[in-house]
Symmetry: C2
Subunit: 281 residues, 2 copies
């Protein structure tokens, strides 16, 4: 870096991003020292960069001195096409699906080797489950994951199978051969089914959102094992997935279907005299 010593070749940008990387779902609030340790940066560097991030409100410092991800980071993240496009288009379909089934409804995409949950609808009556918006679960053990995987290239599936596969329950399918067959079935059937492979007592049915790009997302429903009949559950899910796919194709060039009247498109005010939080102590 510009400067003194230590790990050469590391850019300032990578250090700044390492600070974001220090946070995850199990570490939502960190002290300065913890950020320093988890990011591998010296305390002095961490201090300076964290201060800069905090001024931008990518981080926020709570009353007890701990840092967490800030409002501005949240705001910027929501500009992702995942939110503004995919989720926006999918939401009405997911809503209908939820209202028809009153069960957990999921929208997921593939990210690396994980299924990443973009949206989750759940009511009081739904089975409580581990997924959460912004969360990741293994592809081979979830409905949406298998739906995504089944339409991936052979090479990609092989890459997945070559890795050690998590086994959250004793029903989880981790044998390459069985999983391969499972994926073939899924593709022929048009939808994926899991039976207690992620969580004991719950099953899921999921269908891919198929566009010219392939399976860009998957829609799934999670229910109690006892009340499941995949064949009955599947048609409305497939319909929702196909509806989303059609809307995606139809609006391919429209970056932001829906917000023609974009009030609030004004540039974000930077700090300058705007009290972030009035001190009430």
């Amino acid at each position: 870096m510009a400067g003194n010593t230590s790990e050469s070749g590391r850019t300032v940008a990578s250090r700044l991003l390492a600070i974001f990387d220090a946070f995850d779902i199990g570490h939502l609030r960190l002290s300065l020292s913890e950020i320093s340790r988890r990011s591998g940066l010296s305390l002095a560097t961490t201090h300076r960069l964290v201060a800069e991030l905090t001024a931008w409100r990518g981080l926020q410092r709570d009353a007890d001195g701990l840092y967490s991800i800030g409002l501005r980071a949240w705001e910027v993240g929501l500009l992702s096409p995942l939110h503004t496009r995919l989720r926006e288009i999918a939401l009405p379909y997911l809503q209908s699906l939820y209202e028809a089934s009153r069960e957990n409804v999921h929208l997921a995409v593939r990210d690396g080797f994980d299924a990443m949950y973009v949206e989750k609808l759940a009511g009081h009556r739904s089975v409580p489950i581990v997924s959460r918006t912004g969360g990741r679960l293994p592809m081979h053990a979830t409905g949406v994951g298998k739906a995504l995987l089944a339409w991936e290239s052979r090479a990609f599936v092989d890459a997945v199978l070559a890795r050690p596969l998590d086994r959250p329950t004793s029903y989880t399918i981790t044998e390459p051969g069985r999983l391969q067959r499972e994926l073939t079935d899924t593709r022929e059937r048009g939808y994926a089914v899991t039976r207690e492979e992620m969580t004991l007592g719950t099953c899921s049915v999921a269908a891919p959102v198929l566009t010219a790009e392939g399976a860009v997302a998957a829609v799934g429903v999670v229910v109690h094992s006892v009340r499941v009949d995949p064949a009955k559950l599947a048609p409305p899910i497939r319909l929702a997935a196909e509806g989303i796919a059609a809307r995606l194709e139809a609006t391919r060039d429209d970056p932001h279907p829906g917000y023609e009247h974009d009030f609030g498109a004004a540039p974000v005010r930077r700090a300058a005299g705007v009290p972030d939080r009035v001190d009430r102590r």
Copy 2:
């Protein structure tokens, strides 16, 4: 910066963040040159920093060469307490409110001088409105905004009144005196009401989420003007707001109520051989 010439005193970190700032709801997809222009960075610098951000997947480059906010930025943003705590706690209450009213239900916080929408529930039947998750609207013209403002300090309200106030409709209240009185009424009444002040034909009722910290959020409902009776709408909204406040107070020290079983808390895999998107061209 470490380096050549130009605007001295600007840090690398601020330049990196300026790249994020180049995006907003009206500019979801930008070319490299556009990012360069909008951020005020030289093309070479932009190129380098954008490349670094893209490698981290804070940005993504689409098939047509345009950049947008990436999956990793979205993922990190969702670690904000706004999402993991406030929204998580509030969601069941908002759901009930939605199911009871079948109208647009909002959860908002104050950010600077704006009301910022943290969550929005809407069905087909609801009035179509301008708000969106992650969006901002002026405080003086919205239900949730007035609910937040009414419990702010006198000094803060004065600061708001001292600024030029947007006037989206002819019903918008911008006269300081009237707005002050409106806020006093709101505080006495316990909830805020707007009548076509943001959008013609719609009204809203909103209540603050009051904790020891003050009005940390607000819950609101937006309906067609014709079918509105604020006094009837208010009780369930206040109940929801109070429920949320109580849960917030009760879980004050629990950073993440709900995810005891945090599957997926594994550290995020960095790039290294994980195909972000298999090229299917």
